[in-house]
């Protein structure tokens, strides 16, 4: 029994090495992970399509790395936007022999998975995680092609100061909300605004009348909320109920269709930001949109970033002339690429050196582009 197994594996190994030599071609696996089931499945599949579009294009050019024609293969795994599942699929992809990963979609999944990739020295490029913590953990393998919350907070804080001299801040005490609010507070103060109130709530609350009344007494021009739409909507509503005239400002957690649905007419006039550019403002956006829509239909959200992330990874492999993670990882840090979403280069932490932020406002029940700010 034992000897047959041995013979079989020797034969298998021989045949594998023979095919490799015979054709001088190799297949290299690149991982992709995002929620492919559940409420965010459409956004997760969008990332997957972005990566696949890039890899199909790259494969069509028959790239040679280290004298061999490389065919890239996408290995896509569902992390269900869940931190625990994210670490499990990360390990599964590593066991399958991926040389790098584009992912994950959510900060909550990206951060725990980043430890697994770092421990195994697998380069990771997230197309959409914005939490500051992701690249602040000191992992050499962690990169992102998306503006982070620190950059977003700086822009929002400066913008708040531009809207009015007195700024009040509310956050929902989550890693995202509090992190963003803290950056906004710093930036608003730096831009010369006075922060008249800092209030906290939680991510399950619906009654903000007491907090808002207390804030109303301090007559702010702007109220910034760091949190998600289920809280932002009743805040907008209760501001109107209390007859408050202050401008409501928020981050990407508030810039959702759900916010408008929940707040109804009270959403009108609210301003919120999203990291990155709207597709029509991206340097090669129109071209990408056409290619993508021909193949997969409408772009949901982060597909252009996932597409760029895949290109950045392959570009580093080409420059290193190796698909070995340990060899091309140093080259990843030196990336300088004109992507669909803009110019991509990384700082020492793996963040974008220039992250644009776009501000939107609600007009007639729809989010409309206000302006794009380059920090």
């Amino acid at each position: 029994m034992k000897s047959t197994l041995l013979a079989l594996s020797v034969a298998l190994a021989l045949s594998l090495s023979m095919t490799a030599h015979a054709e001088d071609a190799v297949t290299v696996k690149i991982g992709q992970s995002s929620p492919l089931t559940g409420p965010q499945a459409h956004i997760g599949k969008d990332n997957d399509n972005g990566v696949r579009l890039a890899i199909d294009e790259i494969n069509a050019t028959k790239p040679t790395i280290d004298g061999k024609v490389v065919t890239f293969e996408v290995m896509s795994e569902d992390d269900q936007a869940d931190p625990k599942t994210a670490t499990i699929v990360a390990q599964r992809m590593i066991d399958e022999g991926i040389v790098g990963v584009v992912g994950h979609l959510n900060s909550g999944a990206t951060i725990p998975a980043s430890k697994v990739y770092s421990d195994n020295n697998i380069p990771q490029i997230s197309p959409s995680a914005t939490a500051i913590k992701y690249t602040a953990q000191g992992y050499k393998t962690a990169f992102r092609v998306m503006t982070n919350d620190e950059q977003q907070g700086k822009v929002l804080g400066a913008y708040a100061a531009k809207l009015g001299k007195k700024v009040a801040i509310i956050d929902d005490q989550t890693a995202y909300g509090q992190g963003l609010a803290a950056e906004v507070e710093k930036a608003a103060k730096a831009a010369g605004a006075e922060v008249v109130a800092v209030e906290h709530t939680n991510d399950k609350a619906t009654d903000f009348s007491a907090i808002l009344t207390s804030i109303k007494g301090k007559t702010p021009d702007v109220i910034f909320f760091g949190g998600m739409d289920p809280q932002a909507a009743p805040i907008a509503k209760q501001m109107r109920q209390l007859g408050m005239k202050a401008q409501l400002l928020g981050g990407d957690g508030m810039q959702t269709p759900k916010f408008i649905e929940l707040a109804g007419a009270d959403a009108d006039g609210a301003i919120a930001s999203i990291p990155g550019l709207p597709i029509e403002k991206m340097p090669k956006g129109a071209d990408f949109k056409k290619k993508f829509e021909e193949k997969y239909g409408q772009i949901q959200l982060y597909a252009p970033y996932a597409y760029d992330a895949a290109y950045v990874m392959v570009d580093a492999m080409k420059r290193a002339n190796s698909t070995d993670p340990t060899k091309y990882l140093p080259e990843l840090g030196k990336t300088s690429l004109e992507g669909v979403t803009g110019k991509i280069s990384f700082d020492a932490k793996g963040d974008l050196t220039s992250g644009p932020i776009t501000l939107y406002t609600v007009k007639g029940g729809k989010w409309e582009t206000l302006e794009t700010v380059q920090p």
């Binding site: 009654d207 007491a210 907090i211 009344t213 207390s214 109303k216 007859g243 759900k258 929940l262 007419a265």
Partner: protein, 310 residues
């Protein structure tokens, strides 16, 4: 002064909802000495069912007057919750009526989790919007405080319901049977009171109030969620204990007091403690009150030891 008046209004609106839900706790406790922890979830169910009806009706006939659509939602939610309340009692509590008191309590907590998950399966984890255009959006100034039409309706409706309930318990045949059952179930039964029917009606009345409270909450905040009943239920329970559980007027008083206390607390704690404690401590007031009442005056503000229950 404006701020103080506004916080008072905020508190009274919040407190009215607590009071309505607290009445449900207190009614059941008065008769069965059982804390029906699934009551908060009944409120949530009322809210969700009403929103489902409102959403469907709004989709089919958007030309109907908004108030009619909301009333239709309410009129479906109330009987649905009555049925739910009746079933809860029939299925989960009646078999345990002579069991040790811990058993129905644990069942109640279990039921609350089951109901949450049922709602999550039916309506998903998403927040559901209350179409805000349906109700009048007017806003008035009273002594410098701003109050909306919906909030005025909440206050008025709560007071009306309270009086209706007191009349029911003190003046009607059913009310007399309820009081008799509360005092001595065995004796009441010997005197020809159908104890099971009385207990069922208590659950049904409490659940109807919960449905109304649920619709009020979603109309005021513009949204509903499968998890909304949990904290609301706990706060209302605290309100019932504050007023003296088992006492109707006590539940009302406790609810209003708790609402005002929360609003004033959250509004002023930051300034009073120099920023050491912030408004994120809003939720502790209810539970602080609960602990204080239980240690200092376990019978509550208006509670007298099981003399005037139900």
């Amino acid at each position: 002064m404006d701020i103080f008046a506004q916080q008072l209004v905020n508190g009274l609106v919040l407190g009215s909802v607590y009071a309505l839900v607290a009445l449900g706790y207190t009614l059941v406790y008065g008769i069965l000495e059982l804390i029906n922890f699934a009551h908060g979830e009944t409120t949530m169910m009322g809210s969700m069912i009403a929103l489902a009806v409102i959403g469907a009706l709004f989709g089919v006939a958007p030309d109907l007057p908004g108030i009619m659509i909301v009333l239709a939602g309410l009129l479906v939610a109330i009987p649905a919750c009555m049925l739910l309340g009746y079933s809860i009692e029939r299925v989960a509590y009646r078999p345990l009526r002579h069991a040790p008191r811990l058993a129905p309590l644990i069942t109640a907590i279990g039921l609350s989790i089951v109901l949450q998950n049922v709602a999550m399966l039916i309506w998903g984890k998403q927040y559901i919007a209350f179409p805000t255009t349906l109700l009048p959006q007017g806003r008035h100034n009273v002594f410098g405080a701003s109050i909306t039409d919906v909030q005025i309706a909440i206050l008025v409706l709560t007071v009306v319901i309270m009086f209706g309930l007191v009349t029911l318990v003190n003046r009607t045949r059913l009310g007399r049977a309820m009081r008799a059952t509360a005092q001595a179930p065995a004796v009441a039964q010997l005197m020809g009171v159908n104890v099971n029917a009385v207990i069922s009606s208590t659950f049904i009345i409490g659940s109807a109030l919960a449905a109304i409270a649920g619709v009020m909450v979603s109309a005021n905040y513009g949204q509903a969620h499968y998890y909304m009943g949990f904290l609301l239920g706990l706060k209302a329970f605290s309100a019932a204990v504050l007023g003296g559980i088992g006492n109707l007027a006590g539940a009302m008083l406790g609810g209003l007091l708790l609402g005002v206390l929360e609003a004033l607390g959250a509004g002023y704690i930051g300034d009073l403690t120099g920023g050491f404690l912030g408004s994120h401590y809003q939720d502790i007031f209810a539970f602080l009150v609960l602990i204080l009442v239980l240690t200092l005056k376990p019978s509550g503000l208006l509670g007298s030891r099981s003399v005037e229950r139900a």
